[in-house]
């Protein structure tokens, strides 16, 4: 027990553990909708797009968080807009818009080598470098995202499952989608310094996929995903401390291990671990 408490004596580890747990839960909650909409690639793409926005905000001397979030929100709206053209499709729209934005960021960095060090944390994550301000930002976005899921639970579920009928039933699909895009962009911006652009997609996708293999109920999947994401952040931090490895990859490795275990066990039981009666 004392071994587990040992790293908590370090202030930077405590901060990192709190923010990693919150970020894991946040990404896992938003990720449920991302995965069920068949937009898993958007987490990967949008984090790259937001990286471009972050670089531009830095160069333009605009507040990093606001600039990057605004850029991410506009990118998400642009993806939704372009994806409506049947000749293009969602995957291609994500590919075009996000890689273009990422390329802009890299191009600006390559022009000024002094910028490179500032964005290493955004690319690869630096949990141990976070301060109380980062914890507040992640906690605030987690609060907003939780409020959105609570208030918009029904329309979000309806739109995610059946957007056509939801719209026909009077659900304001455009407004709900815009709200979701805003929260997704804010999630990626808030967790960028913690997990890194390159690993955010994993934190968005792996916990919901593991949760999906465990249950056939949406509500249960949401809770399980949040629990798996938070536990992944917490255990990943301990792993990074005791094995002496970077925190972002450690978190993703823990979540990936959970995926492998659940996948193997669910395969042995015909695709799902919980019995049929376990659904709500």
């Amino acid at each position: 027990m004392s071994t587990l408490l040992e790293p908590l004596e370090l202030a930077f580890f405590r901060n990192g553990m709190i923010v990693a747990t919150l970020a894991g839960a946040l990404c896992a909650m938003v990720g449920v909708y991302v995965v069920l909409r068949g937009m898993s690639y958007i987490g990967h793409g949008l984090s790259h797009a937001i990286f471009g926005g972050a670089v531009i905000s830095f160069v333009a001397k605009v507040n990093f968080t606001i600039g990057a979030a605004a850029w991410g929100f506009l990118s998400a709206l642009a993806i939704n807009r372009v994806a409506r053209r049947r000749s293009i499709g969602a995957d291609a729209a994500i590919g075009v818009i996000t890689t273009a934005s990422f390329a802009i960021g890299i191009a600006i960095i390559s022009r000024a080598s002094s910028l490179r060090r500032n964005f290493d944390a955004a690319l690869f994550g630096n949990v141990l470098g976070v301060g109380p301000g980062d914890i507040v930002v992640v906690a605030a976005v987690l609060t907003v995202a939780t409020a959105m899921v609570f208030v918009l639970y029904r329309p979000l579920l309806f739109i995610t499952f059946d957007p056509e009928v939801a719209e026909a039933s009077g659900v304001r699909t455009g407004a709900v989608d815009a709200m979701f895009s805003l929260v997704l962009a804010a999630t990626i911006v808030a967790t960028m310094n913690v997990l890194g652009v390159l690993l955010i997609a994993a934190a968005l996708v792996i916990p919901p996929v593991v949760a999906r293999m465990l249950t056939n109920s949406f509500r249960r999947m949401l809770w399980l995903s949040i629990a798996i994401g938070a536990a992944g952040g917490l255990i990943g931090m301990y792993l990074s401390y005791f094995v002496d490895m970077a925190s972002g990859p450690a978190i993703v490795i823990v979540e990936s291990a959970a995926f492998v275990v659940v996948y193997a066990l669910s395969g042995m039981r015909g695709g799902r671990i919980l019995p049929a009666g376990a659904v709500d």
Binding site: F150, R154, L157, E164, E167, S169, V171, N216, V279, D280
Partner: protein, 261 residues
């Protein structure tokens, strides 16, 4: 009989050529109407125009008796059967009036009552993929019925199902119609579905003909609707459409086969 919905000169487009052109159509209270036509003829767009999810670029859609509650059942081929929802959760999606995530006691009771009416209450906690084809279709009809609609719209309700399931669904729809519900459905199945409905609309971007099956299932109307010759026979007083093209026509020797009875 009072008019529920009246389309006047309605034209709909997705940005290019009109998908529906100058459509005039009235749906009465208690009507049971089938819309037939080839793929791309605007059948699904007609339903979406009535629900309001597609806005006409010209013409207008009137509700002469005031607001009409509409239930919409999409094509089941579009459903993601691996989505983590139970039968009860699907039905409760239609309960859009409450802000709290969990259903009220009244909503839960209404959902169970609706499932009971459709013989599905025993499956309420099952995942939707664990049901048979007919039961799956009933789940989505239950969701549409949850809001107690005056008009039920169904897009290809018997598409891709076996004969038994088709009979099951059609019996259910006849029962609902008998209880006073107005029903408008689209179908490709001229003999198994359309011929058994009291009223048909032949659609090919514009309304080609409307009336009873015996009046509209005629070779000339079907040729104008589908752009291909069809024969119509009679079996027990019911029209039977022969959709196969004679071999000589496949080889470029068109012939006229009017064996309608």
């Amino acid at each position: 009989m009072s008019d529920l919905i009246r389309l006047e000169n309605v034209t709909c487009s997705y940005g290019g050529e009109p998908v529906l052109s100058h459509v005039d159509l009235t749906v009465h209270a208690g009507a049971f109407v089938g819309v037939v036509g080839p793929s791309g003829s605007g059948k699904s767009t007609l339903l979406k125009a009535i629900t309001g999810s597609v806005k006409p670029v010209a013409g207008r859609i009137l509700r002469p008796g005031g607001p009409v509650t509409v239930g919409y059942v999409p094509q089941v081929e579009t459903v993601n059967w691996y989505f983590p929802v139970t039968v009860l959760e699907v039905v409760l999606m239609a309960a859009t009036g409450r802000r709290l995530p969990w259903p009220s006691i009244a909503e839960r009771r209404l959902a169970h009552d609706t499932l009971e009416r459709l013989g599905l209450d025993a499956y309420a906690s099952r995942h939707i993929r664990e049901l048979s084809g007919g039961q799956q279709q009933r789940v989505f009809i239950a969701r549409a019925l949850f809001a107690r609609p005056q008009l039920l719209l169904l897009d290809e309700p018997t598409s891709g199902v076996d004969v038994h399931t088709r009979h099951d669904v059609m019996h259910l729809l006849h029962d609902l119609h008998h209880d006073g519900l107005a029903i408008l459905l689209t179908t490709h199945d001229l003999n198994g579905v359309a011929a058994h409905l009291p009223e048909l609309v032949c659609l090919n971007r514009e309304v080609v003909a409307t009336g009873a099956p015996g009046d509209v299932l005629r070779p000339d109307v079907l040729e104008r609707t589908y752009g291909a010759p069809m024969e119509v026979l009679s079996h027990g007083g019911m029209p039977v459409v022969v959709e196969s093209v004679p071999p000589d026509e496949l080889h470029g020797k068109p012939g006229h086969h009017e064996h309608s009875a």
